[in-house]
């Protein structure tokens, strides 16, 4: 099936669009820094927030809207029975319909409809009880039918909203919550992939992805910066993952974002917008948008105009480049899809007798089974454990981390407020350093709880606890208690032993003792540290301080 076709006229940018397997490398080059250079203005849609430019002109306001394609997590494709699987051998998941063999017809996959309804409900949308499918025509080698089946006229869900939070302020220590309106969610087919071989002037087509179900989520232009857009996308991603309606992994192309960007002066009409494509991570999303905002401002301030065009983000150069894109201008010649009857959804009131949720899609049935959304989970975490809101964000940001935290809390007497520190500072740091997911962590919640219990009981010091944690990370199957015993990390309980150690340290550091006696109390900490070093963390610092103070005053 791999059709190889000759190719001369497609730009190399298009080629990159499909190489989703590549790990993008960011070159922190000149182009990017130039975009951040002083003189251009950090824009905020709320005019009051925008600092005035150094050139003294009226401030610019940026407007950002997003179109997000989320691949539906389903066993089979939107209109055919072929399996959906990432990175399968090329053209191994292609049904006759996916290859658009003449005479084949679409049959709608219920699971995809349910995923869209779920997502619509989670985004506070109105679910249309009747929606329609349309054909959108364009010729492209990875679009076998010459048209995409989508929902242009009457999509499955409309008029929703998404609240997201981000850190603002000079030190990024203040969280604010903003809302973006969701215009619509439509069901549509994904295309295949084109792999361009420039040396042999060939294009290889892989249709595994052709026909996979997508939800296109259209966000109104309610955002004003890359950061906001990135935060909104991150929140959407979490929601989709919570619902299970999409795996939403950007690196695997399951979540693809196009941004519409324009700038204008407050009080004036919106500027001409550009569409930025080819964004494949949340980090690049913010950069691409901010770059584009600055680029437009610069163009306008230099007396140029912004063209209504499609631009691609080049992650290597850190800038946006016009795409040689005929799609942007072409007429898609939309037409109703004649092979699919209107998609009718029911609620409990309109559900026909003797029908159940197995036969038709019942909106109420789905609504009743929606899981807790991230925003609800965060509130519950803050309420239940007394942790800070930003902690709750951090817990949800990592898949499985919240559950891990809750398990630890359940198995330990330590205050959750203290546990969170261990989770977010130690645990998460280690995971990040070793590039592991929570599930892959060699330290289970039970082991960590055991460790924290030792600490809480006063059996070990916190610095000893860190050592034990380090040992646990090796994953050798030892319990914290075993490690403590082996390494002799228990706190020294014997008062006499303690006194001797302190005495020895003081004798070895007469200068410091003199200093303290002269009144420089700060040096005391040095002595405490020395005691700790001698005991390899086995001394209770409170006790050490007491003993040292007692002896110094003698």
């Amino acid at each position: 099936m791999a059709a190889s076709i000759l190719r001369r006229c497609w730009g190399s940018l298009l080629a990159q669009r499909c190489r989703t397997g590549d790990v993008p490398v960011l070159h922190n080059g000149q182009t990017w820094r130039r975009a951040q250079a002083p003189g251009s203005i950090a824009s905020g849609r709320r005019a009051g927030n925008s600092p005035a430019g150094e050139r003294g002109v009226a401030p610019w306001v940026a407007v950002v809207g997003l179109e997000i394609h989320a691949q539906i997590s389903s066993n089979s494709k939107l209109f055919s029975g072929s399996q959906v699987q990432f990175a399968a051998p090329p053209n191994s998941l292609v049904s006759f319909f996916d290859a658009s063999l003449p005479g084949t017809l679409p049959a709608l996959n219920r699971r995809c409809v349910e995923a869209a309804v779920m997502t619509g409900l989670a985004l506070n949308c109105r679910i249309n009880k009747k929606s329609l499918f349309d054909r959108k025509h364009y010729f492209y080698a990875d679009l076998p039918a010459g048209y995409q089946i989508t929902q242009q006229r009457l999509p499955v869900a409309v008029n929703g909203s998404l609240s997201y939070s981000l850190c603002v302020g000079g030190k990024k220590n203040q969280m604010v919550t903003r809302t973006v309106r969701i215009k619509q969610i439509q069901l549509e087919q994904d295309s295949g992939k084109s792999l361009h071989d420039d040396t042999r002037s060939q294009t290889l087509i892989d249709l595994n992805r052709a026909g996979v179900g997508l939800m296109e989520v259209v966000m109104e232009p309610d955002m004003s910066s890359g950061e906001e857009a990135a935060a909104a996308v991150r929140e959407l991603q979490l929601i989709l993952q919570t619902l299970g309606s999409s795996q939403a992994i950007m690196a695997e192309g399951q979540l693809r974002v196009d941004a519409n960007v324009s700038v204008h002066h407050p009080g004036e009409a919106y500027g001409v917008r550009t569409e930025v494509k080819n964004i494949n991570s949340a980090r690049f999303l913010a950069r691409a948008i901010d770059y584009e905002i600055q680029r437009q401002i610069k163009e306008l301030e230099n007396g140029q105009t912004v063209m209504n065009e499609t631009r691609a983000f080049d992650y290597k150069l850190g800038c946006t480049i016009p795409m040689r894109d005929k799609e942007g201008k072409q007429d898609y010649r939309f037409m109703p899809e004649p092979n699919l009857p209107p998609l009718i959804l029911y609620d409990t009131k309109s559900l026909p007798a003797n029908m159940n949720h197995q036969q038709v899609v019942n909106i109420d049935w789905i609504r009743e089974r929606l899981p807790d959304l991230p925003s609800v989970k965060r509130v519950k975490l803050v309420e239940q454990y007394g942790i800070l809101p930003e902690h709750s964000f951090a817990l949800l940001n990592e898949d499985g981390l919240m559950e891990f935290f809750q398990n630890v809390v359940r198995q330990t007497q330590m205050n959750p407020k203290k546990v969170i520190g261990w989770i977010l500072n130690d645990m998460l740091c280690y995971l990040k350093q070793h590039n592991l997911t929570v599930k892959e962590s060699p330290v289970s919640s039970l082991l960590l709880a055991d460790l924290l219990n030792l600490l809480e009981r006063g059996a070990i010091s916190s610095s000893a606890a860190k050592q034990v944690f380090e040992e646990l990370w090796k994953g050798e199957g030892k319990t914290p208690l075993q490690i403590v015993k082996e390494k002799k990390l228990e706190l020294i309980q014997d008062q006499q032993e303690f006194e001797q150690i302190c005495q020895a340290v003081m004798e070895g550091h007469q200068e410091e003792v003199m200093e303290i006696k002269k009144g420089n109390r700060k040096v005391l900490n040095k002595l405490i540290g020395l005691v700790q070093r001698t005991t390899r963390g086995r001394a209770d610092p409170v006790l050490v301080k007491q003993i040292l103070e007692k002896r110094l005053s003698q």
Partner: protein, 524 residues
């Protein structure tokens, strides 16, 4: 033996008077003998004989699959047949061997039918003559009938005899010719604007277009998805009912088929016509309607009236917009459906490969004929953003009005509408090609396409011979999903008119000279 009906040959098979293999061989040799008709594009001799053998084994063991077991059938070459070339009479699909069977083909095979081959058509079923395919025009068997020849000799130039051959109508002309010339017992056609009924009428056979949504379109290479219906061509109404019973029913692969289970039926002869109400749509008294056809139409109405039925003139006021409306909707869907033929996945691919775009353009120019390309161009024009409202949306609205006309008429108590099927009897090829495909299609579909727009079932029944000795058919249009009522009326009518059997001397096996097929007493 080949001239009997499907029902009769089925009985003969069950009684052991003939074996499936004998029957298949006879049909195959007769297909070869009538090769000049150009009714078949592909003859699936090997698979047909194998199927016949398997059928024979089933008969031996007394485990036949159904009424169609061992019955030779033909299928229009726009239905996918696994392992058998499916061309749509187009360079685009020449040599294309599909990997799957259309649902209707599969259903025939599941009943034990023997698939003889694929029948000729206009390229992608776009036409009303079966003259515009890459394999050349189909010749109407009636060109070689004694009935026509006798009249020809009387009237004109015997020396031009061979150039005077007649068209079958279309686009399912191959299927109509195959049934009419006794090379098979039933054939599948497709009907988008009359493509089954038109050639059926011109070839003197029964042509049934079922209700949209009753029969699966999966595997039928589409012309206009919202109007296409697999059509059934047989030699009598009873046979059409048998085939319909096999084909009808929900198909999960075609979301536009209805969910309700279909109950196959056997047609009864109704004795009491007094409860019947026949509508005669006055708008079908159209310009160009031959006086002969008009006279037959009116005689047919009298026939019903004399039998006690109520015959009422009715109005379908939007009929006159039907042709232009059909043109917009048809070409728009054609433009869309044909987009998949880009030379990448299957079918013809041009050797011009300077760039993908050049390859697309050359592939499509080489692969499609002028008719197909012309419709693609118009369709794309109607779908342009600036034209969509003015053309496509308007046409859809008109379509709804046309459909509503029928609803109103049936609501008023009419059971079945009686209309002509075509303007006149068929004409010689040399006459037909004086007009272009577009003009012809518009003229020839005039009485048939409204049923497609409204999704209604319709059947053409051969009624009488014209003065030239050529068949004329009349059409009955029924209520949606009321095939049983429609066919019952059609069967009664068929019985009354006693349409004469075609006399194919010289072509037919010489043993049987027909004596009992005198011309109809009523309509002579």
């Amino acid at each position: 033996m080949l001239r009997v009906s499907l029902r009769e040959i089925s009985a003969a098979l069950k009684e052991g008077q003939v074996t499936p293999t004998e029957l298949c061989q006879r049909c195959l040799s007769f297909i070869k003998a009538t090769k000049f008709l150009n009714a078949y594009i592909t003859i699936a001799e090997e698979t047909a004989l194998k199927q016949a053998e398997e059928s024979e084994e089933r008969y031996r063991r007394g485990q036949i699959l159904g009424d169609l077991d061992g019955i030779p059938v033909a299928v229009k070459d726009n239905f996918n047949t696994a392992g058998i070339e499916t061309t749509c009479a187009s360079n685009m699909l020449k040599g294309y061997i599909p990997p799957y069977n259309a649902t209707v083909v599969q259903k025939l095979l599941d009943q034990g039918a023997v698939l003889l081959g694929k029948t000729n058509l206009d390229e992608f079923a776009m036409g009303s003559g079966s003259t515009d395919g890459i394999f050349g025009p189909v010749r109407n068997p009636w060109s070689y009938s004694r009935q026509y020849r006798d009249k020809c000799v009387q009237n004109s130039h015997p020396e031009k005899e061979d150039s005077n051959w007649l068209i079958t109508g279309g686009s399912s002309g191959g299927s109509a010719a195959a049934v009419s010339s006794f090379t098979c017992f039933a054939a599948l056609g497709s009907d988008t604007g009359g493509s089954t009924r038109n050639p059926a009428a011109h070839c003197g056979v029964v042509g049934l277009k079922p209700t949209y949504g009753l029969i699966s379109r999966h595997g039928l290479i589409p012309l206009v998805n919202s109007m296409d219906v697999p059509g059934i061509l047989t030699r009598c109404v009873d046979d059409a009912a048998i085939v319909l019973g096999v084909l009808a029913g929900h198909d999960p692969k075609d979301s536009t088929t209805v969910q309700d289970p279909f109950k196959s039926f056997e047609l009864t002869c109704f004795t009491d016509a007094s409860k019947l109400c026949i509508g005669i749509p006055k708008e079908y008294h159209a310009p160009g309607l031959s006086s002969e056809t008009l006279a037959l139409w009116s005689k047919a109405a009298d026939l019903f009236e004399n039998a006690g039925a109520k015959v009422i003139e009715v109005s379908l006021p939007h009929t006159r917009y039907s042709v232009v409306c059909y043109h917009v909707l048809c070409t728009s869907e054609v433009a869309s459906n044909m987009a998949r033929f880009d030379g990448l996945e299957y079918g013809h691919r041009s050797s011009m490969d300077k760039s993908t775009e050049v390859m697309y353009a050359a592939t499509r120019r080489e692969g499609f004929n002028d008719v197909v390309r012309g419709r693609i161009l118009s369709g794309n024009y109607f779908l342009l953003k600036q034209n969509y409202e003015n053309y496509f949306i308007k046409a859809q609205k008109v379509r709804r009005l046309i459909a509503k006309d029928f609803v109103n008429v049936f609501h008023s108590g009419i059971d079945v509408l009686l209309t002509p099927t075509t303007l006149s009897d068929t004409i010689p090829y040399v006459e037909f090609i004086k007009e272009d495909n577009r003009t012809r299609s518009a003229q020839d579909d005039i009485f048939t396409q409204a049923a497609n727009m409204a999704g209604l079932p319709a059947i053409t029944v051969p009624t009488a011979l014209s003065e030239k000795g050529l068949p004329v058919g009349l059409q009955f249009i029924g209520r949606a999903f009321q095939e049983q009522q429609l066919l019952t009326v059609a069967k009664w009518f068929e019985k009354q008119v006693k349409f004469p059997m075609i006399q194919l001397q010289g072509i037919m096996d010489h043993g049987h000279t027909d004596s009992h097929h005198q011309k109809s007493a009523f309509f002579s």
